[in-house]
Amino acid sequence: MKKLLGVTLGILTAIGGFLDIGDIVTASVTGARFRMALAWAVVLGVVGIVIYAEMAGRVATLSHRPVFDLVRERVGARLGLANLFASYLITFLTLAAEVAGVALALQLASDVNYLLWIPLVGFLVWIVIWRVKFETMENVFGLFGLALIVMAVALWQLHPDWSSLWHSASRPGVASGEGAPTYFYYGIALFGATMTPYEVFFFSSGAVEERWQRSDLMLNRANVYLGFPLGGLLTLTLMALTAVVFAPMNITVEHLSQAALPTSLALGKVGLALILVGFFAATFSAALETGLSAGYTISQYFGWQWGKLVRPREASRFHVVVLLSLIGAVLLALTAIDPVKLTEYTVVLAAAALPLTYFPILVVANDPDFMGDKVNSRLSNAIASVYLGILIVVSIATIPLMIATKGGA
């Protein structure tokens, strides 16, 4: 039974991590604009996150050390600090985007301006981190996040031309009227949203906090192999929904409100209610994960006590970092910066910073000092090396593409 509950850790990180505001925005935008022609970017991202999250989970289980602890030890205090700046900045921007996303989801249900919800959302996120146990948190939001499965029902109900969808996904190419840079820019956005670094910060820290042992390695695999692809499938479903409904009418997705429209068209009030609950749960759990991850990265770099299992007064520096990050994120979101644009740029910047997170994981997963006989297999090393190459290429290409396409305009 406990094992079964443990799987929800994977589902929570997958639903909250895959279908966070970043995926909801990038999947709806790209589906409406390129139909399924960028589906490969999601698949590429899913395989990548599966490979590296499994490694991070295995490293955390065997060495009892989370990702950022290893980053500092392996790349040194100085380079580790530069890495910390980049990782923290992206986690912080993601947190601001998620907080705005929760507020937008509440606006969709209430028609009360999202700016008014933001302070309340910030407070709720903090109170959950402060008072609610890890396990309760993951079970509740894992369950509510599953409401997003309604999107699959909606897609099926719309009776799409499956062969045409498959055709557009399996023979990707730059659509007429779109430049290749724009196409790849959005490809990178999807890839970055799928492999966002906070997922492994959160996942590996969770494994350390739950005191996973050698016997839990199967659990790690189950979480990763089930949870992340499930999340990826939901991303593709959302992409297909906007591809089916919006692409033929040349509708571009500019607002979160549009992302729920296909489901409302297909399934009416019940569908709409479920997808709004799903959006709320996904963005809220992602806000929890990013808020905690902000604290994890800094605390793990400096070696401070972190985590939710100890009393807050025993991890006071960690809680101060989380609290200040949340206040900062709330203030940034309150500037009325366009949350959809903020999300798009954040996932693209995340893509640029991916090697910083994933490279040290790959190195340590090969070190028998930490891993004993559970070092990487040749196969996972081969795939991981290919991915490291991809991550580096993506990282180099991102900023020039961002400038060349004026942010995908």
Binding site: R74, V75, P360, V363, P368, R378, N381, A382, S385
Partner: protein, 120 residues
């Protein structure tokens, strides 16, 4: 003397010829007894070589299982590393360490790793 003062310092031989930078410091547990710990770690020698981040990452140690692409990228650098025994170190300056030997003789080139993984 702090470890951070040794790391990355330039090392020259008695003729002023550059040997490289200090990558790491080799310790051996046979110093005087300390508290409840046991024997202290004594400074055995400096690991000196041309700059490489692969050393700090620990990729180039032979027990590392891969990935081969990274090992291959960093392996060439490793072959040039030498161990300068501490008793051949004459002077530790702010940025530069002077060894008490000519380049050829203080290069106790070492190919196998002697350090054991930290265990209880």
């Amino acid at each position: 003397m702090r470890l951070s003062e040794l790391l990355d310092s330039e090392v020259v031989d008695c003729n002023g010829k550059r040997l490289g930078h200090v990558h790491d410091v080799q310790l051996i547990q046979d110093g005087p007894p300390l508290g409840t710990w046991g024997n202290a770690f004594r400074l055995e020698g400096l690991i000196v070589g041309p700059g490489s981040i692969g050393t700090r990452l620990g990729i180039v140690r032979p027990e590392m299982r891969g990935p081969w692409i990274l090992k291959a990228l960093f392996a060439r650098r490793r072959s040039a590393r030498v161990l300068v025994p501490w008793d051949r170190v004459r002077e530790v300056g702010a940025e530069r360490i002077t060894a008490d030997c000519v380049a050829a003789e203080c290069q106790t080139a070492f190919t196998t790793d002697q350090a054991s993984p930290p265990r209880g």
